[in-house]
Amino acid sequence: MSDQAPRTSVIVTALGADKHGLLAAVATTIAAANANVDDVSQTVTGGMFTMIMFVSFASGETTMAALREALVETGLKIGLQITVQHEDIFRYMHRI
């Protein structure tokens, strides 16, 4: 991963029924798409799996569209609803 090129930061959320290997599957997809996981938190409450990942990539490494396509495909396979959104929407909504 390059420290020079401007990086795009996105937030990936994944929600669904818990089972083995969910975090690994999502992380593997992100790595295969050439993006980096900067931070991750994951909880399971009442059998419900909730994961939030801070993901970034440099221009040229991948695009949001490619990352989303790969993650949604993975989500369909393992039963997770996955969203990929630029971090600015969260910053705008929750911070002045």
């Binding site: 937030i11 959320t13 938190s41 909730t50 801070f54 969203t83 990929v84 959104q85 705008y92």
Partner: protein, 454 residues
Amino acid sequence: MVFITNEEILETVRMIQDENLDVRAVTMGISLNDCASRDVGRVCQRVHDKIVARAGRLVSAALEIQEKYGVPIVNRRVSITPIAGVLAAGGPEAFVAVAHALDAAAAEIGIDFVGGFSALVQKGFTARDTALIQAIPQAIAETQRVCSSVNVASTRAGINMDAVTRMADVLVDVSQRTADRDSIGCAKIVIFCNVPEDSPFMAGALHGSGEPEVSINVGISGPGVIRNVVARHPELPFTDLADLIKRTTFKITRVGELVAREAAQMLDAQMGIIDLSLAPSPAIGDSVAEILEAMGLARTGAPGTTAALAMLNDAVKKGGLMATSSTGGLSGAFIPVSEDAGMVRAAAEGVLSIEKLEAMTAVCSLGLDMIVVPGDTTRDALAGTIADVMAIGMINSKTTGARLIPAAGKAAGDWVELGGLFGAAPVMPLSLAGNSAFIARGGRIPAPLQSLNN
């Protein structure tokens, strides 16, 4: 990386995924002043070319923003300089030709509506205004994407009752011309008092005379989000409830601000305004009426409805004001009937009447909006109803509008399908008491005392 809590992230995701949070409209305002000519062919060509040149990338830019932030942008639209001032000569048929040019340009760039087939006649008619108003029925009946609005009243000028009557005639005419489609043409005509010159919402959007060359105006949405916040706190006193609504509206408005900034930059346009309106859609869970019902009213229309709406409308504005410095447009809760599933239900059950809606008009934005009335409603009854709505706007120094649909061949209690975002609605009864002698007076209801505030 900005620190954002997990709860905040999941709240945003829930608002979008489960509560219908979206941006209702990204509307590009385009000045057509430089398209003016006495030659109709030249005007048609210039208007078409300018809209395509400036808004050609509007749809793709909106899609790009939608993908980036994961928030749906429901409508992409264009508002233009009121067309009465752009075509400098020619009769109604010339204006109809311009409407077709607008329709073709809108189709070419893939937008659903272009607004501004408009005139401002609150104080009187120019020859251009007269020709334009005569052209509205044919123009609306023959085009798909053209929206028309006419400002017939203002706090400064009073109510031009001759214009009110002419617009009632227009509604009757359009109702007949589009009778085979439940008179849907009338859904694309708004009659205004104090028309905003920067609204992103159709059918009443136009690009006013004080506006820049090209601007981006954004209409927010999110009734479902507010409804759920209210429903989660069934016993909260109003002071605290208002605070919760403010906090939630802040977040919704920030999304609009983000989208407006980005769209303006991408499209080389000036960022215009964020319209702080809670705009419902016919989808379940996207209803302003359901917010009022979540406050504790069994149905919208129950005693307390006007108070509930006043509180909601005020809290929405206060929350939105903190979120953007670029407020404008209509900025208030919308109460259209056919476009709001909760309003439709209340109207169908007979709990919500046109008279109650008129009272609600006094405390929120727009007015008697998307209300279907019997097809045999007289011109004078329509004119009287329009005048009532204009009076509320004039006296309260606020925008009011009337979008009434006399559905040809339909009687009170019948059902009308308007389709898409226009929704469906029952035909609501209007008072049958006569008012012809009142309407026949004509002239102008003078500007009220409120006009002298200098």
